[in-house]
Structure formats: structure tokens, C-alpha cells
Subunit: 449 residues, 2 copies
């Protein structure tokens, strides 16, 4: 079983920042370094940071609700710097940052992750997103964003170029012969001369090939387009499921898609997101979950949901049910919301609270209770491990590490020591050979912009 931690470089889950034990140290390096030490003590595979390139304004076309409620994206440090800080105090923990292919350049991003991978001796991971908020487009010289189809086309080419740049130094190109002198062997460092629809990049990169070959690639794709992209490129896929059955279906589908792309399905790890609440007794855990639920400002939950669905929920009556809507945003979250709304007959206000305080998979209880749930999902073909959210930061990670991890270890489900030298090795993934990604890029040339 693999464990990733979904850490937030700002206030975490809606209301979590109001929890009495929550330490509002999001602006300082020590806060993240302490989390990193906790996770490494717990033998987590990696720490993961989502990202957003704006303060979302999808609720009432204003950032007010987001800011007032400390809802998702109200404050977000640049995750790459946060990761580097965490890397400085750990030796094994993988370090995953989200970077958008829509608002960055391949040379910059390939270099950034190559640097992180070198500095941390092979622990870098890249969560690839295409961004889907108009407010993000408006911070990057555009009135509106590219349509999803175009964003994924760009992402395919972006990854192809990044792979070429990482391959531009052969593994043994750096010689360092002071006598000769021969610093690097010029015949083993190659221009890439990429000319595509979206990018023209000469190369080579000015950083030698990363220790892992390529950093680990993570993706969360819930749309058909997203799932296909994830199955093509990802080493790790994370997802969100309200039930075991829905997780099992997704697991089967992705593994099949990966095989259809000619990949070994075991080389694609699927980690559903969970937000377990752990306590010394089942009763205490339930009370904690209730308290956390009470702390969720309904409008904070709703503005987070508005962001995820990319729908201005302020235009619907708060005390009626959310009608069926067209969702340009994350389809997986909408599916989940429809399930909850229908099952529990919630008004929009109640849905906001429910969504903000939801505990995917329903893992609330003692360490043994939660381990039972995780064991079931893991052994019944729903996942290869979990993306663990803390209901409140940093305490939630400490609770999980102290109470759930030892249970999983006792059952032989989870490592007691890191197996490998790099993140890829800990995840059971092979080191990427040069040229591997060129084979994964879509064969037909992408359509003109």
C-alpha cells in the first residue's frame, strides 16, 4: 500500500483553519518542515501539493467569499518552494508539486523539476494540471481560457517536450575529468529542436538528466479526456470517490486504459483521496468529526464547490436543492455532489456544509477502524494506496501517523522502512529510460490551434 499526504500550502479543508488545534503557520518554512518530518516518520511515500493560479472568484464573481471563509485557494504559496524547504529536512519523503501546463513553459518546468530531483537525490514528482478557472486565465494575459480540448492538446505536447529536455543529457554525459579537461562530453548532450503546434524549443536543458530519469508524474483526471491523458502519462493517479464501488469501477477502467496505451498497468498507481478523522475511541473520533463539520462555514464550502464545479452557485436559492447544472469543472466532484444531494435530500446551504466537511470513504474512528476501511478498499481492488488529507493541519497528519500507520504496518499492509533510494523505487516504479515519453505522445500530429 502506498500513502501520499495531500498537504495544503495555505488553509486546508474548509473550516479546518478554525479548528482549535490548527496552527496558522502557513507562511513559514518550519510549519511545512514539521509536517515533512511527521510524514517521513510515518514512512509516507510522498507529500503532495495542489495549486491554483488565482484567488478563485467563482462564487458571485468575487473573491470575497473565498477570502472571508478561508475557502480553497484563498491563500496559496508557490508549492515548489514549499517542497524544497521540506526536502531540506528529510531524506526519503517524495515531494510532489502541481504545475499547470497551460500557463507555464516546458523549458522552465522541465528545469525546475530536474533541479528539484537533483537537489533531493530523486524525490521529485509533478502533478500535471491544465487549469480550468477563468480567473487563472485572467492572471495570464487572456480574457478567457482555452477550451478543455485545447488545454489537453497543449498538455500532451508540453509533456513530450519536457521528456525530450530531460533526455537531452545522456545519463553519463557529465564526465568531470579535471585533467583532460572534459567537463561534459559534448556528443552526449543533444539539442532537441522541437517544433510543434504549441512550443518551439531548441534545447538542450542546462541541467543533467534527473536521478529518476523523469520525475514521477501524477494526474487527477475525472473527465474522459482527463482519464485518457492520465492513463497515457501518469505514474500515479489520484481521484475522489464517495463509495467503494465507484472507486473499484474507476480502478478497473484506468488500468485497462493504461494497458491500451501499451503500458504495464502495475506501473500506474491509483490513490483515492480520503480525509480520515482518527481518535483514541470511536466516540471521540465521531465527536471530532462533528466539531469539524460545525466549523465549516456553509458559504466557505459552497465557494469551494463553486470552484471545483466551475459554476457560480451564488445564483441558486440557498434553501432549495441544487438543480441539475452544466458542469465545466471537475466531473468527479459533481458526481459525488449529486450522490450526496439525492441520498440526503440537502438544500444548497446544507450541501455547502456537507461538501466542505465531507469525509470521502467515511473513514472515522480509531486507528484500527480506519485501517479496517483502508484494508478493505486496498484488498478489494479499489486502489493501490491513498491520498490522505488532514481534516486539520498539521494535527491530522500527526494523528494518522501515530494511530493508523502502526495498524497498517502490524497487518503487513504498509512498509516499516523505505525500500528504495528514490521516490520511483519506493512507489515500485521503474526508472524511466531515455526516449520513453516520445513513445507515449499521441501519434497523430495535434490539430492546429
Amino acid at each position: 500500500m502506498h500513502l501520499a499526504a495531500f498537504v495544503t500550502a495555505g488553509p486546508g479543508r474548509p473550516g479546518g483553519w478554525r479548528y482549535p488545534d490548527s496552527v496558522p503557520g502557513w507562511l513559514g518554512a518550519e510549519y511545512y518542515q514539521n509536517i515533512a518530518r511527521t510524514l517521513e516518520d510515518g514512512r509516507f511515500d510522498l507529500a503532495f501539493f495542489a495549486d491554483i493560479l488565482s484567488v478563485p472568484d467563482r462564487f458571485g464573481s468575487s473573491t470575497d467569499s473565498q477570502l472571508r471563509n478561508g475557502a480553497l485557494g484563498s491563500l496559496r504559496l508557490d508549492p515548489l518552494h514549499v517542497l524544497t524547504s521540506m526536502g531540506a529536512v528529510t531524506k526519503h519523503l517524495g515531494l510532489a508539486a502541481t504545475v499547470s501546463t497551460t500557463y507555464a513553459q516546458p523549458f522552465t518546468v522541465a528545469r525546475s523539476f530536474a533541479t528539484l530531483d537533483h537537489l533531493t537525490a530523486g524525490r521529485a514528482a509533478w502533478n500535471v494540471v491544465t487549469s480550468f478557472q477563468e480567473s487563472e486565465a485572467r492572471n495570464f494575459n487572456r480574457d478567457e481560457q482555452f477550451p478543455r480540448e485545447k488545454r489537453y492538446e497543449r498538455a500532451d505536447e508540453f509533456l513530450e517536450v519536457a521528456g525530450k529536455l530531460w533526455d537531452s543529457w545522456e545519463d553519463d554525459a557529465l564526465v568531470l575529468d579535471a585533467q583532460a579537461p572534459l567537463f561534459a562530453e559534448p556528443s552526449k548532450v543533444h539539442a532537441i529542436d522541437h517544433k510543434g503546434e504549441w512550443f518551439t524549443v531548441q534545447g538542450p536543458l542546462n541541467v543533467p538528466r534527473p536521478p529518476q530519469g523523469y520525475p514521477v508524474v501524477i494526474q487527477a483526471g475525472a473527465s474522459a479526456k482527463g482519464k485518457d491523458f492520465a492513463a497515457r502519462w501518469s505514474d500515479v493517479i489520484f481521484c475522489s470517490h464517495a463509495s467503494l464501488e465507484s472507486a473499484q469501477d474507476f480502478y478497473r477502467e484506468i488500468k485497462e486504459r493504461a494497458a491500451a496505451h501499451g503500458r504495464d498497468p502495475r506501473q500506474v498507481k491509483i490513490l483515492p483521496s480520503i480525509a480520515p478523522v482518527v481518535g483514541p475511541t470511536t466516540e471521540v473520533a465521531r465527536q471530532t468529526a462533528d466539531l469539524l463539520f460545525d466549523l465549516v462555514p456553509p458559504l466557505g464550502g459552497l465557494s469551494t464547490l463553486a470552484y471545483h464545479l466551475d459554476v457560480d452557485l451564488s445564483t441558486f436559492p440557498l434553501d432549495e436543492r441544487l438543480p441539475d447544472v452544466e458542469v465545466p469543472g471537475v466531473e468527479g466532484h459533481y458526481r459525488e455532489v449529486r450522490e450526496i444531494t439525492e441520498r440526503e435530500g440537502l438544500t444548497l446551504r446544507e450541501l455547502g456544509k456537507q461538501y466542505g466537511g465531507r469525509v470521502e470513504g467515511g473513514f472515522v474512528g480509531t486507528g484500527a477502524d480506519v485501517a479496517d476501511g483502508l484494508e478493505q478498499w486496498f484488498t478489494e481492488g479499489a486502489c493501490d494506496g491513498f491520498m490522505v488529507q488532514a481534516p486539520y493541519q498539521p494535527g491530522g497528519f500527526e494523528d494518522f501517523t501515530r494511530q493508523v500507520v502502526p495498524e497498517l504496518q502490524k497487518r503487513g499492509l504498509f512498509r516499516t522502512e523505505y525500500e528504495g533510494a528514490t521516490l520511483r523505487e519506493n512507489l515500485g516504479l521503474h526508472r524511466s529510460e531515455a526516449g520513453e515519453w516520445s513513445n507515449r505522445a499521441p501519434k497523430q500530429p495535434s490539430a492546429a490551434k
Copy 2:
């Protein structure tokens, strides 16, 4: 007197990587963290990283000479990550990274430095460059670069937008009242709605105002355009001078230009670059300097010079003098090269070695000898301090810290303890008020692209 260290995230000065004491650990975080500790022990104001967005190919239109000789830019990690690693093991040392305004976006860069400034409690600095190599343009979708005039226009607007983004959260916008709840006061977080010739950025930033207001801004502008830009925007200016007189002229000119922009000239610190070689005796220092000189591969020096001048020097006969040439690159370096060539009657091959192994200002000797030289430059109106290059990394910084710094301290020229809590305070610079940069931006709208 202020001291900055010119650290290289890769092999440093030409030939330095061949020095027996040189530790080729440029790819790991510990290498930089050890340098950071040394510099903080020596009470340096800051560590500074230059940057290049390509492996230069200005010598013979090929990266071969650069790579073979370990010349400038052959290998360069992303300096921002390196800095964050160094910040994790220090408390006072300022952290300066070079980021180009030509190949990045203001939202990304403003957020990146705001994050670094928060994580390090006010120690971030940005060296603003506009990039001048065709090879860099070709890594970012262009066949050729923008002309210098356009690059500086873009840079002016880039800094204006960055300033607006840092100001987009008022200093007291983050409230964190868990009871209310009020995470941030929406009326104190502002969209910037910038619409210019180069950038359209809605804002606000998703990071609160940096501890320093704005990070410290550094610039090295030797052209008329560059000097004007530096006098307008920079807190720190670094430069390169072969003689005291030339440094004094530059010092006077920049201070006058700053005053002409309505700025207090004392709020602009000028740091000439030096590469002192220190030894226990004058004789040992001279022998070390000779050895370092011997280690410079002439073609390594020449390909570094070809980069700086942006001139393909492979087209001139190696055993004749360099004729007068048109120099699109760094004018200051060309001035220096003409001086050396004429004074010493060098062939191009000899010039390559001389340029690669040059010791600006001629500071070679015991700690006391070098301190004499620095004292003279400092007290005779040539500078506010120095940008110290290590002739070889990391030993050169250790030598300087052990042998020169105590001499400077004994003479009352340099601090024995850090005075301030932030880099700005240590440099004697005021904290930037919101809106300060809007007043510095050129008044007339920039010409159309």
C-alpha cells in the same frame, strides 16, 4: 560595507572546477547548504545566483566548447530552488535569484518571490535580467530575441505589475479570526486589473504582502538603457570594474541617476564584483592565483567571453589580437576586455585565458592585503560593498570568511552581528510602502509592441 557572495549553481569561474580543492557537488542540496552556513558565519548580507536559460552556443554556434570546458552556463540548476535549500539552514543570510522578465510571467514571478520572502521571513531578493542570448529565445518559442529596447520596455511593465501584485494584499489583510469567522478581510485584498502593452493581469495575488513589502531588487546594467533601468528600480546594483577609477565613475553616475528619478541615492547600494585570491602569505596567494590561471582552458575563457559579448569569437584568428567588434552583449565586459587587450598586447587565445582567470580589482594576497584593497575602494567612493566571487567553490568562500572578514571587522568596516531582521534591514534599505513602485514606473505609456 555590504558583502554579497556570487555563488554559481554549477561550475563557477572558468577552470575553477579543475582546482584540486573544488568539490563537484553542484547537483546536491548539501553543497549549497554548506556554502550558506559559511556565508552566514561570515555575516554576508546575501548569496546571489546569476542565471542563464540555455547552454550558451555563442562560440562556433555550438554548445560543444561550453560543455567540454565547463564554461559559463554549461550546467545551471534553477537558482530559486537552490536558494530555498540554503534558506532552510540559515536565519539571516539574504537569498538572491536571477529571473528574466523576458521569458516569464509577472504573476508567476511575483508569487514565487513572495513565497520565498514569507518562507524565509524577509530574506528574498530578485536579480532582474532581460536576457540577451539568441539561444535563450530559442528555448522559448522564438526564432530570435526581442531587441534590447523592447526587452527593457517589457521589464519596466513587468516590475510595475509585480509591484501591484505584491501590494494587492494590504499589510493587515490577513485576519485569521476563527470565531467570526474571518480569514482575510475582503476589502483589503484588491484586484489590480492591469492592462498594458505586454501584460494583462487581473489579480489579486494569492499570497499576502511579503514581509519586506517588495523583495530586494538587484540589477546589473552596464548599457545606458541598463543603467537607467537599474537607477529606477534597483535597491542593489552590481557591476564589474578593472580599476578603481572606472568603479568611481560608475558609482557617481548611478547615484546621480537615482537622484534624478527622485530616489534617495543612499537607498541604492552599489557592489562591484571582485574575485579575490587569499592565502596565508602573499606568496602563497600569488601561487594559488597562478595555479588557478593555469587551469583556465583558453577556449573555456573564450566561450565565456563570447557569451558575455554575444559575439562568435570562433570566427577570429586565435593567435592575433581581437579587432574592434560590434558588441550586442554586456558593454561593461567589452570595455574591460579592450583595456586588458591594449594594456597587455594579448592575442585572442591569451585573452581567453586572461578573461577566464581575471581577478577584477587585483585583490590577491593575505587577508590584510585584500582588506586593504577593499577598504580603499570603499572609502574612496567606488562602492557600498562588494559582490565576492570565489575563484573556486566552495573553498574560496571559506578562505574569504576566515581570512578577510575578520580583518574588515577589526577595522570597523564590516558588521560582527546582523543588525536587522530582514535583508532590507541588513542592507540599510527601508521597507517598501504599498504603491511605491507605481511611482517609479515610466510615466509615458510604453510604445506599442
